[in-house]
Every structure is written in structure tokens, then in C-alpha cells.
């Protein structure tokens, strides 16, 4: 057993309101540079839809992630030798139009225009060519189901469902999906990089691109099934979400998590067995991958694990953080959070609590948790998104959320305080009142200190932060803004 620590995130989709507030500070701090205009380390998608870049989930098209070889997972787009021989052209690289052509407006016209009978207008100008352009796609083109009757048909999560039925206006459903890099345990981007520029940080599992070693081969972009590594067309190097590592090192949550209005994001440390990563990623059936990944996680409150972690060189503050990790509770103890598209076999580490749909019209029915199959969002859709099609895993998580609601409603006086009905519902899904109280605290109250348990890095481990401030991997004088 080789214990490693990983900083991980959970997003509670049940509370995401799709406001994009997470994307804005991320954009302002990390990707407001030339060549990175189109790059969103954090973006929010509306489902059903094809997302950003277009159809990123469709690996028939993009060949990202891993497929199962004879015994081990193999890169879907081909192994090291094939990549080496084909290095002169990457057939699986998205074109910038698959994301969107970045644009701005010549705002100067508004103030420089001479007096006319009509108001002056501004036209969109491409930030690549400087020419006038027609905007045909953007980073949130499908916001709140805009055009879902067209693009929704291509959503791969409809597999096994009659999509025509669900895309009719009276049946349509919607959920928001905020996305960042998954900082996978078995990252396809790292395995795809010919230069060895991408790496997983030993101390906290954050996946980074070494900007000085990146030679711009672009295999990381196509190797990532979540399409969360981006090629900066100006600097000629790849960039990706850094999990705001300078903030994490200082014990602060990421910008997207810090600013989340709905308090949907949780950050915590997970301990896992790195020796069994390959084995877990090679689980036989796609539906077994979720269980294989959760089996990798180690219980930090087990004294044997804690002492083994200390012996493996994991810093004591990381172990303490793991003991209080909200992510461990949500993902392992309560099994509420699920990994997105586990069938990509990268073992992602940013998980999602599936959303309940609007249930006002169903409330009060004494149907208990069985109504999860009658919610507006079909369980099958969520299962395709979060459990490789395994509906029972999603159903159990949804039932727990329902049982928690009924339990709290009972406690608030909608029923007798000691309502046997609510307690029985809890028991049915394997929860106790004590667990429910704790779940309520973490999910509904969601206090800052409970959501974010981020161990501060010891100063001795990180060198001179004062000197490095504002650089984050970019050497002095090369922030990607240079004009050459």
C-alpha cells in the first residue's frame, strides 16, 4: 500500500443555480490574457446540451480518456508509440470553433462617433483576426436550455432514454453542471504528454502543466476526456485549472469555491492507495468503476491508516485535514457524491451530488423516497452522467436526499417531532438521525469552515512565496502576454 493525499472537491448540483459567479473570478485571475480568452478553467453548462467544447462527453468523437486493454487501461487515442509516430498531426484536437472564436467589440466607436440621427452601434470583432465576425457559438451558448431542442439531441447522456420525449417543451428538464479540471487519480492528460510537462503533485494530487517544459504537442488536450486542458493559441503551450494552488497552499479554498453564491462547493483532503490506481481504472465493467474508485479511498479516522500515512511521509496537517474532510463524508461515508463519467477511467476527483428536481407538486404525498423515479430529471440521465449508467447508485443518493428532507420537515413540525415515518425513511436508505443532522448541517447550512477544510502548507515546503507571488509557474516576464 502506498498512501497518497489528494485535495478533492464535491459540488452539490441540488443547489447550483447556474449563476456563473464561479467562472468570473477564475477568468479574471487566471485566463484574462491574450491567447487564453477562450479558456475557461471553470465553466458552467446547462444540461441537456452538448457543452463546451462541443460534444466533449462524446469519446467516439474526441477519443479522450482510457479504454480497457487486455489487463490495463490504455489511452483511447493510442499508446506512446502511436503518439510518437503521429506527432506531426493530432487528429483528435478540437478546433477553436469547437470552443468558440473569442471576440470583443470596438467600444471606441460609441464615444468617437460623430453626431448622427441614429445611435452608433458596435460590431463583434474576432480577437484572433481582428476582423468583423458573426458570433455562432460561445462558452455558455446553451445557457438555461437555449437551443436545447437542437443541441440536446446530441447529448450522450440520453443513452437509453427517449430523448424526443424529454426534449418536448412540457417534459423538458434542466440542471446546471459547473465544471473544473477533475485532478484525476489516473489522468489521461499526464499520460498523453510526450514532454512529461504535465504532472501530478505528490503532496496534494493537483495536476499541473510545467510551463517551462511544455513543447506544445497538444496531446494533453485530446487526452483529457473532460476537455479541461486548453491550448493557448498565442503562447503555444497548454494550460489548465490549477485548483488555485497558491490559495490552497495558503489554506484558502479555490476562487470558484470561495465565491460560490449557492455554497455548493466542498473542498477536502482524501487519502488513497496509489498502488491500486491502475487496478481500479481497469475494473472490468464500466458500472464497477465507481465502486473500484471508492475502494481506493482510505479511512483517515482509522488509527492504522493515519499512522501508515504518517510513515509514508504525508504531513500531519494533511492527515488532520483528511480526518475532517467534508469530501470524505459526502463521497464515502454518505455516498451522496458521485464521479462524473467514471467510464472514462481517469478516476476523477471533483464529484457531484445529483440534483433533485422541483418537487413542490409532489410534496406531501405519502410516497416517501419512491418518488425519485417520478422526478422531472430522469434517473437514467443522471446515471449516464454520474455513474456510467448505473441507476441504483444514483437512486440511492437521491433517496437519501429525499429522506433527509422528510426528516427535517418532520422535525420542523410539519409532522410530529418523533415521526416514525421520517425515521423509517432514514433507516430504509441506511441513515441514522445523527447522520441526518450532520448532513443537514453540511448540505443546508453549509458553513464556510465546514465546507472548506484546506490544510495550510508548511512554509518550509514551498520556498519563497513572496518572491513567487503572481507568477504561478510562469517565469518572470513571460506571463503569456508577450508579443512575438
Amino acid at each position: 500500500m502506498k498512501i497518497k493525499a489528494q485535495i478533492a472537491m464535491v459540488m452539490n448540483l441540488d443547489k447550483c443555480l447556474g449563476c456563473h459567479t464561479c467562472s468570473i473570478p477564475c477568468k479574471n485571475v487566471w485566463t484574462n490574457r491574450q491567447g487564453a480568452e477562450y479558456i475557461w478553467y471553470n465553466n458552467v453548462e446547462t444540461k441537456p446540451g452538448i457543452g463546451y467544447p462541443k460534444n466533449w462527453e462524446n469519446q467516439q468523437l474526441w477519443k479522450g480518456g482510457w479504454s480497457l486493454g487486455k489487463k490495463r487501461p490504455v489511452l483511447r487515442s493510442g499508446g506512446h508509440t502511436k503518439k510518437f509516430a503521429g506527432i506531426f498531426h493530432n487528429p483528435d484536437l478540437p478546433l477553436i470553433d469547437d470552443y468558440y472564436e473569442p471576440w470583443s467589440y470596438d467600444y471606441g466607436k460609441l464615444i468617437e462617433s460623430p453626431r448622427r440621427r441614429r445611435q452608433p452601434g458596435v460590431r463583434p470583432k474576432s480577437l484572433i483576426t481582428g476582423e468583423n465576425m458573426r458570433i455562432k457559438w460561445g462558452p455558455n451558448w446553451e445557457d438555461d436550455l437555449a437551443g436545447a431542442d437542437v443541441t440536446g439531441r446530441e447529448d450522450v447522456n440520453f443513452e437509453g432514454l427517449e430523448k424526443e420525449v424529454y426534449l418536448q417543451f412540457q417534459n423538458v428538464f434542466m440542471l446546471h453542471l459547473p465544471r473544473i479540471c477533475e485532478h484525476c487519480l489516473n489522468p489521461g492528460c499526464v499520460a498523453s504528454c510526450p514532454s512529461g510537462a504535465l504532472y501530478k503533485r505528490d503532496e496534494d494530487g493537483i495536476v499541473l502543466v510545467d510551463q517551462q517544459r511544455c513543447r506544445g504537442w497538444r496531446y494533453c488536450v485530446s487526452g483529457c476526456p473532460y476537455k479541461k486542458v486548453y491550448y493557448n493559441w498565442k503562447s503555444g503551450r497548454s494550460e489548465k485549472c490549477l485548483f488555485c494552488y497558491p490559495r490552497i497552499e495558503a489554506g484558502l479554498p479555490t476562487l470558484c469555491a470561495e465565491t460560490c453564491v449557492g455554497r455548493i462547493r466542498y473542498i477536502g483532503v482524501m487519502l488513497y492507495d496509489a498502488d491500486r490506481v491502475c487496478e481500479a481504472a481497469a475494473a472490468g465493467g464500466e458500472k464497477e468503476l465507481y465502486k473500484a474508485q471508492t475502494d481506493l479511498f482510505l479511512n483517515p479516522n482509522d488509527p492504522a491508516i493515519a499512522s501508515a500515512a504518517a510513515a509514508a511521509g504525508i504531513a500531519s496537517h494533511m492527515i488532520d485535514g483528511a480526518k475532517n474532510s467534508p469530501v470524505y463524508k459526502l463521497a464515502v461515508e454518505w455516498r451522496l457524491a458521485l464521479p462524473p463519467h467514471p467510464e472514462f477511467r481517469t478516476l476523477p476527483m471533483v464529484w457531484y451530488i445529483p440534483p433533485l428536481s422541483p418537487i413542490a407538486n409532489l410534496a406531501g404525498n405519502a410516497e416517501g423516497t419512491h418518488i425519485v423515479d417520478r422526478l422531472r430529471i430522469p434517473v437514467r440521465y443522471l446515471a449516464n452522467l454520474l455513474a456510467a449508467g448505473d441507476e441504483d447508485t444514483v437512486r440511492l443518493a437521491l433517496k437519501k436526499l429525499m429522506a433527509l428532507r422528510d426528516y427535517m420537515r418532520a422535525r420542523r413540525g410539519a409532522a410530529a417531532p418523533e415521526s416514525p415515518g421520517a425515521d423509517a425513511l432514514l433507516e430504509e436508505v441506511g441513515l441514522t438521525p445523527a447522520m441526518a443532522d450532520e448532513m443537514y448541517g453540511l448540505l443546508a447550512l453549509a458553513k464556510y469552515r465546514d465546507r472548506f477544510v484546506v490544510p495550510t502548507v508548511q512554509k518550509e515546503e514551498v520556498g519563497d512565496l513572496h518572491r513567487d507571488r503572481g507568477m504561478c509557474g510562469f517565469p518572470p516576464g513571460s506571463q503569456g502576454m508577450e508579443d512575438d
Binding site: 497518497k4 484536437l93 489522468p187 499526464v190 514532454s195 512529461g196 497538444r218 498565442k234 490506481v277
Partner: protein, 222 residues
């Protein structure tokens, strides 16, 4: 000093000096820009065949030049490759890969000049590099098809004389003009390459062939 001395003694050493010193200087002072500067994300339809043809053509042509010009004929004869066989191999492979590289370079030029996105993103450096490459390849391909010159006793020993620091420009003075132009253009390209995007040649990711999939790195490796 006559033109031959200037072009085939002075210029080669200037070129080789900037080539070696230039690469070392660039690597030491500017590692951040050491990459291939791919524009595939902006345009990939035209690039597909252009890039594949060009690169494979150039790579094989390069190895052909390397083996054919630097290895002394005496050594090859000892191995059973007579000058006649050598010339036949050189001509056939030169025609094949030279043409491949030429078609590739032409397609690359067509793409770079014909696609607004790529052109706007091109620096003067990029255009000079591609222009020089196209000129060298075009002259070389012309020579292999239409030139009739025994390079084994002229150009090849001259190159070896340069590399052994005993320059003998007389060896090359008799070859046709197109050969001389090819040599001079190639030397110019060599001298210019450290300051262009061509440096990515030196980053051939050979270690990728035998490294493990996942890389872990300590926060402070150094």
C-alpha cells in the same frame, strides 16, 4: 577573397557558429519559448496533409543527407556500397522524400498565406523560416530531378573538410549553380534556426517511448 571563399569557407563557419552558440544561448536564456508554436487549433483541415507530408519528407531527407554526405565513401565501399549504388539510393530516396517535403512545404505556404487566422497569427520570423525552408527544399528537389552532378566527389568531401576544420572550397567550385544555391540557402537556414520555431526539432520526445503513464512530482523538486 573570391566569392567561393566567402560562400564556402567564411559563411559555413559563421552559420555553424550561430547554429551552435545560438542554440545554447536560446536554451539558456529563453526556455519558456522553446516549443513548436502549433497553429493546429486555428486551422486543421489544410494542415493535416501539409504537416504530415512536410515533416516525414524533411525527417527522411535529413537522415539521407546525414548518412550520404558525412560518411566517407571509402567506409561505404568497404561495407559493399559502391559509389554507383550509393548514387542510385541517394537519387531514388531523394526524389521520393524530397518531393514529399516539397509538396508539404507548398501546402504549408498555401495554408499560412491563405488562411486569415493563421496569417494574422504568423510573425515575420515564421514567414522567413517557412520561406527559407521552401527555398532549400525546392532547390534540393530540383537538383535531384534535373541536376546531373557527382556530389560524392565534390560536395560531400567539401562538407567533411569544413567539419574537420580543413576547408577545401576548391572541391565545390565546379558544381552547378543550383547546387551552390542549395548549399548556401541550407547554411543560412541552419544559422537562422536557433532563433526560429525550428528549435522544436531538438525536443523530439524520445523519453516518452519508455516512460510510465503517470508522473508524480514533489512540490519543490529542486
Amino acid at each position: 577573397m573570391n566569392w567561393d571563399n566567402l560562400a564556402f569557407v567564411v559563411f559555413p563557419y559563421i552559420s555553424l557558429t550561430t547554429f551552435t552558440v545560438g542554440h545554447a544561448y536560446r536554451y539558456a536564456t529563453d526556455p519558456f519559448h522553446w516549443n513548436s508554436r502549433s497553429s493546429e487549433i486555428l486551422e486543421k483541415d489544410r494542415l493535416k496533409y501539409a504537416s504530415i507530408f512536410f515533416h516525414y519528407g524533411v525527417v527522411f531527407t535529413f537522415f539521407g543527407h546525414f548518412a550520404g554526405l558525412l560518411i566517407p565513401q571509402k567506409l561505404l565501399t568497404a561495407l559493399g556500397i559502391t559509389p554507383a549504388i550509393h548514387m542510385r539510393i541517394a537519387l531514388v530516396s531523394g526524389m521520393l522524400f524530397g518531393l514529399l517535403a516539397l509538396v508539404g512545404a507548398a501546402l504549408l505556404l498555401w495554408r499560412r498565406l491563405g488562411r486569415q487566422r493563421v496569417l494574422r497569427h504568423s510573425s515575420m520570423n515564421d514567414l522567413v523560416t517557412l520561406g527559407l525552408l521552401a527555398a532549400v527544399i525546392a532547390l534540393g528537389t530540383y537538383n535531384v530531378f534535373f541536376g546531373h552532378c557527382d556530389v560524392l566527389d565534390t560536395v560531400a568531401p567539401w562538407i567533411r573538410s569544413i567539419l574537420t576544420l580543413s576547408p577545401a572550397p576548391g572541391l565545390i567550385s565546379s558544381v552547378p549553380l543550383t547546387y551552390k544555391l542549395h548549399v548556401v540557402a541550407a547554411l543560412a537556414l541552419l544559422g537562422f534556426s536557433p532563433f526560429s520555431r525550428l528549435i522544436h526539432i531538438w525536443s523530439v520526445p524520445v523519453p516518452y517511448l519508455y516512460r510510465s503513464n503517470i508522473i508524480y512530482r514533489q512540490r519543490r523538486a529542486e
